[in-house]
């Protein structure tokens, strides 16, 4: 048994503990303590990772453990991490902790709410450390279903519609993934032996090219739905806007990253030739998402819609970075996943806090809030600045890494795609500053707002944790890019070998 197992075991135990709690107060405290311990656990894993690396362990996946589960089908409980998954684990634990903090005032079915939230996080943790496609898929599903209930029960607005839409579209994505995974499984023993779901074994198997061409779209699009790939992004605006704050944070901060991670770890790694083949198509979709998402954001009037559409645009950068197939762009894509996760969680958190006070999310109904709530206003501005890619915050370094990596492809197609993506940062500045100007600045329009209270301790703590993480990445990006580099190097090696074969 190694410490990595604890990463999925702990959420399971804490979810059970929450069920045993009595009263809302106990539930809250238990969840807070559990998620804080989880963060500590992840940090310990990170520490262990660095210690091993420093000791000269250069294997692509560390702290591996492998338990046979269904040997006759080649299914095992195979876990291990590299820098990329470690970055994702850290992101998840930070976002979940902050999600618990901002949900402090949930009074309706508190126990069930926190139980589902922790269950969701378990799905994400399991997903990021699985090296077996079957368990990976299992955890992915675990991270979908609770969302339906979170939105449907604790949501706002058209919550039934949104919950249904989100669940169905993500389920559709999962179905595509499942087909893809089965296809990979049945093509995994072309050179003899038993078929397997094991990612490491699969990564050295060469899947026949025509099979790759058929299966890659299933896997990529399936994971793409999670990361809101154009044109399968419409669950995001509705889902985000109806979800309760913590669920929005989880959805945008982590769930969308499941997709990006799957695209890299499963689709591109296992089928590098097809990835190259479909690369230009993905780039086109990514560019559409980036620009179209940005322009669509400009027309939104509801703060959550603004952030949801801008997430579509920002996740386009992730796909762009992946499909450029240069190491730098891939590092940028992963950095963008982390950065977007933190930034968008912060954004949804602060929007939720404003909503709790003003009972509106319409930009037209708010004005001059910075004067009444300086803390929340400042947090809003910082989240916005991160979103528009201001240096010193995490958004800038990840976008720039993607641009620098993309520019390494010297042909006209890739160049134009890069320039279009660059151009979107201007549009981003427009909608962010507009929203901030409308909501926070100007004269106070509604006299009732004058009596509103600024952030409470839990809200302050959540904001500060997220802001510190964003600033840490923005000021010392070498920490994150150094963490991701070895993993990206391994993936690029596989893809580069495929180029030779092509």
């Amino acid at each position: 048994m190694n410490s990595l197992f604890l990463i999925v075991l702990w959420p399971a135990l804490s979810a059970l503990a929450i069920l045993l709690c009595k009263g809302a107060k106990q539930v809250r405290t238990a969840s807070l303590v559990a998620s804080a311990i989880q963060l500590g656990l992840t940090l310990y894993i990170a520490f262990e990772y660095y210690t091993l690396r420093r000791a000269g362990d250069h294997s692509p996946f560390m702290m591996q453990s492998n338990l046979n589960w269904f040997p006759q089908f080649g299914i095992s409980l195979h876990m291990g991490i590299d820098g990329i998954s470690l970055a994702m684990l850290l992101l998840t634990s930070v976002v979940v902790l902050c999600g618990v903090l901002v949900s402090w005032n949930i009074s309706y079915l508190t126990k069930e709410f926190y139980f589902l939230l922790i269950l969701l996080s378990m799905g994400a943790y399991g997903f990021f450390i699985s090296l077996d496609l079957f368990t990976l898929f299992f955890f992915l599903e675990l991270a979908v279903i609770p969302k339906f209930m979170l939105i449907g029960i604790w949501g706002s607005g058209r919550k039934e519609y949104a919950a249904m839409k989100l669940a169905l579209m993500l389920m559709g994505g999962s179905a595509l993934i499942l087909i893809g995974l089965l296809g990979v499984y049945f093509n995994s023993h072309t050179s003899g032996g038993l078929p397997t779901f094991d990612l490491l074994k699969l990564s050295v198997v060469h899947i026949p090219r025509n099979a790759q061409h058929i299966l890659f779209p299933f896997l990529f699009l399936g994971f793409g739905v999670f990361t809101a790939i154009f044109p399968f992004h419409t669950w995001a605006p509705d889902g985000h806007s109806s979800a309760p704050t913590a669920a929005s944070m989880f959805l945008a901060g982590i769930s969308m990253k499941l997709g990006g991670y799957g695209c890299i770890r499963v689709a591109c790694l296992l089928m590098p030739e097809a990835a190259q083949y479909y690369g230009p198509a993905i780039i086109v979709l990514a560019c559409i998402a980036i620009l179209y998402g940005a322009f669509a954001t400009m027309m939104q009037k509801d703060l959550k819609y603004i952030n949801a559409y801008s997430s579509v645009s920002h996740c386009g950068f992730v796909l762009l970075g992946i499909a450029m197939f240069t190491q730098t762009a891939l590092i940028g894509a992963v950095m963008q996943m982390v950065s977007h996760g933190l930034m968008t969680a912060l954004f949804f958190a602060v929007i939720g806090m404003l909503y709790e006070r003003t009972h509106t999310r319409m930009t037209a109904d708010m004005s001059g809030l910075l004067k009444i709530m300086p803390f929340l206003g400042t947090v809003f501005i910082i989240a916005g600045l991160c979103s528009l890619g201001l240096p010193g915050l995490s958004g800038f370094v990840s976008e720039m890494t993607i641009f620098m990596g993309s520019w390494q492809r010297p042909d006209a197609f890739h160049r134009i795609a890069t320039i279009l993506a660059c151009a979107s940062i201007v549009v981003t500045a427009v909608y962010i500053l507009r929203a901030a100007g409308k909501v926070l600045m100007g004269p106070i329009s509604n006299e009732h707002f004058r009596s509103l209270k600024d952030a409470a301790w839990n809200e302050k703590l959540a904001s500060v944790i997220l802001i510190l993480s964003i600033v840490l990445i923005g000021v010392a990006p070498f920490l994150l890019s150094g963490l991701i580099r070895p993993g990206a190097f391994e993936i690029m090696k596989t893809i580069a070998n495929a180029t030779v074969l092509n």
């Binding site: 669509a296 990596g405 500053l433």
Partner: protein
């Protein structure tokens, strides 16, 4: 000798003060925030002076040439093995001059603000933003890496945004801040793509390496970038021109200048620091930083710089003649003077006598920073006194605020180019350089010089002469010592700065350049300036009908100038009309109707199918019996058919 520790402190002290005041100021240090900011700037200014002294007189010159000294650097973000963003500090003549200018003006503005912002509720926020700006600007000028420059370039943009929008409950201030940020962001897109192009071919982001690789004739990097072409121009031209677009945005060059006049919504000391003396000259600084590449490898790009500068200087001067808001006049004059610096760089060659334009440009940057900061701080004192920006509310103030009056006059004489004030010397050099290299630009510059004298003295006479204000309407006197001290000090600098032998320290190739004033050559510009001054005197010293008559005679030209040639409206058409109105609305509509519609259609289709299928399950026994009967019958028929 030059030590990394204390040179690093020059930008780090303002950063420390930003963090301290920004985090704790509001609650614990409200009263102390001004003094803390000022003190940190005082230290940083002293360190800058020591550094400048050591660099220029002791350590900088190696075998008679000023060298670029990288004080320290570390890898901040690696992209690929050779390409990385390094954070570092580099000392060379222009960066040393810039840290002097930035810390000095910032110090003056801090001292001035102590009094000017007294009584402001959010004074700690104000000082923390000022410190943030100073830190970013110092980081920009000391950057050792082009990407580092871009990073700080964006950060000065942020501080400019925050300070323009300081009075955020005023909608016009919010709009102005937004406009400034977005216009410069748009221009920075050019900067970014320029960086991508240049760094891809030069395989480095480090300034020293980049410049040497791209300016050495025959180097493989230079060959690779000049042989690749796009739309008929080499990528080098593209890269440099795009880089310049970024600079033009920051420096408010035509047609990206639209944000600068609006930026005057910020507190006046901020306008002095950011929108007159330091941040807006960042574009000039950037071209000067990359100057060897522009001058040696791509004269075509330098032509773009020259003509953009020349057009901007004339264009802004024309507008400045008719504006009635004191700060806007100064804003347009800033744009015009930066135009001078730009085209001075643009007409310059590299090395020796050819490099006169380079020296002149930076000389003008230096003197302009002093007298324009003085003008703005003076304008602040005036506004403080009459509580209005409008010229019509002013007049006859010379007796009420004598110190402001004298110092303002000094600055006006300097910007008009009257000897022996500092502006005269730097402008002479610019005119000389353009006379030698580009005669059409020389003519434009000459005409603009006359205009400058006219509109500056229009301002001067309208404020301090024209009509007499009743004494009792403004009972309180001139600002306190903290406001007057910077004015007097800057006025003294403005008087003396012209006599600095600038070419000895700053030249395109690092070798000393001697330039003298040619009496015969100076005659025409000085006469023109005097003409402008006398005309302004005739028009505005006393209330007269002459200005109105002139406006009628000029007719359309006057109107066009008054309406700022409607450039704002053109931009508004493109952005609000086309991009937001059509593209944005289309994207939102498309998403809502087409894409979402398709998804919903799929859902409704499924619903219809399931409803139809559900109809079969009626739950009535009779229906089921009928179905069974029908089934049995049809089976019978089928078997009968098969057997028969």
């Amino acid at each position: 000798m030059l030590s990394a520790t204390y040179i690093a402190l020059i930008p780090l002290l303002p950063l420390a003060s930003f963090l301290l005041i920004g985090l704790l100021g509001k609650r614990y240090l409200k009263m102390a925030s001004g003094p803390i900011g000022t003190l940190s700037l005082l230290l940083s200014c002293a360190l800058a002076c020591i550094t400048a002294f050591q660099y220029f007189f002791q350590a900088g010159r190696v075998n008679g040439v000023f060298e670029k000294i990288t004080v320290f650097k570390f890898a901040w973000l690696n992209f690929s093995p050779n390409v990385s963003i390094d954070m570092g500090l580099v000392l060379d003549p222009i960066s040393v001059m810039m840290i002097l200018v930035v810390t000095l003006i910032a110090l003056m503005v801090h001292i001035y603000s102590l009094s000017y912002m007294k009584g402001e509720e959010r004074v700690s926020t104000y000082f923390s933003f000022l410190s943030l700006f100073t830190f970013s600007m110092l980081g920009l000028v000391l950057a050792s890496n082009i990407f580092q420059m871009y990073i700080f370039w964006e950060l000065v943009g942020l501080s400019s945004y925050l300070l323009i929008g300081f009075y955020f409950d005023k909608p016009s201030a919010v709009a102005a801040a937004k406009k400034a940020f977005i216009v410069t962001r748009f221009a920075d897109l050019g900067f970014l793509i320029g960086i991508l192009i240049l760094s891809f071919h030069a395989e480095t982001l480090d300034f020293t390496t980049l410049i040497s690789r791209l300016s050495t004739p025959g180097s493989p990097w230079l060959l690779s970038i000049s042989s690749a072409s796009f739309m008929g121009f080499s990528l080098l031209t593209w890269g440099l021109v795009l880089l310049f677009v970024g600079g033009a945005g920051k420096s408010a060059m035509f047609p990206l200048h639209i944000w600068l006049p609006d930026a005057m919504e910020g507190p006046t000391p901020v306008s002095a620091l950011i929108h007159a003396a330091t941040m807006v000259v960042a574009g000039v600084f950037m071209v000067a930083r990359m100057f060897p590449v522009y001058a040696l490898s791509c004269p075509a790009a330098l032509q773009v710089v020259a003509w953009t500068g020349a057009i901007s200087s004339l264009f802004a001067a024309l507008i400045a003649c008719t504006q009635t808001d004191i700060k806007r006049v100064l804003a347009y004059s800033t744009m015009s003077q930066i135009g001078y610096m730009m085209f001075a760089l643009g007409v310059s060659g590299y090395g020796g006598e050819n490099g006169l334009g380079y020296t002149a440009s930076l000389f003008h940057l230096f003197t302009h920073a002093l007298f324009k900061a003085l003008l703005f701080l003076g304008a602040g004192a005036v506004i403080h006194y009459v509580h209005s920006n409008e010229l019509s509310k002013m007049g006859g103030l010379r007796k009420h605020i004598p110190i402001t009056h004298i110092t303002f006059l000094v600055a006006c004489l300097a910007i008009a180019g009257v000897p022996p004030f500092s502006g005269f010397f730097s402008k002479e050099e610019i005119l000389m350089a353009s006379y030698q290299h580009n005669f059409p630009i020389y003519c434009i510059a000459l005409f603009t010089a006359g205009l400058t004298a006219f509109y500056m003295f229009r301002l001067y006479f309208s404020i301090f002469w024209k009509k007499e204000l009743s004494a009792d309407s403004h009972a309180h006197g001139e600002g306190g010592f903290a406001m007057m001290f910077p004015l007097v000090l800057l006025a003294l600098f403005t008087l003396g700065a012209g006599f600095i032998p600038f070419g000895k320290f700053i030249s395109s190739d690092g070798l000393p350049l001697t330039s003298e004033v040619h009496l015969g050559f100076s005659l025409i510009p000085v006469l023109l300036s005097l003409c402008g001054i006398f005309m302004a005197m005739a028009f505005y010293k006393k209330e007269s009908t002459l200005p109105d008559k002139a406006a009628t005679v000029l007719g359309e030209l006057y109107k066009a100038s008054f309406n700022k040639f409607k450039i704002d409206e053109v931009w508004l058409k493109v952005t609000k009309g086309f991009l937001f109105g059509i593209v944005g609305r289309f994207a939102a509509w498309f998403d809502k109707s087409i894409i979402n519609g398709a998804i919903d259609l799929g859902a409704s289709f499924a619903e219809v199918v399931s409803d139809t299928v559900r109809m079969l399950q009626t739950g009535k026994v009779q229906d089921y019996a009928a179905c069974v009967l029908a089934g049995v019958l049809s089976l019978c028929l089928y078997f009968l058919y098969v057997w028969m």
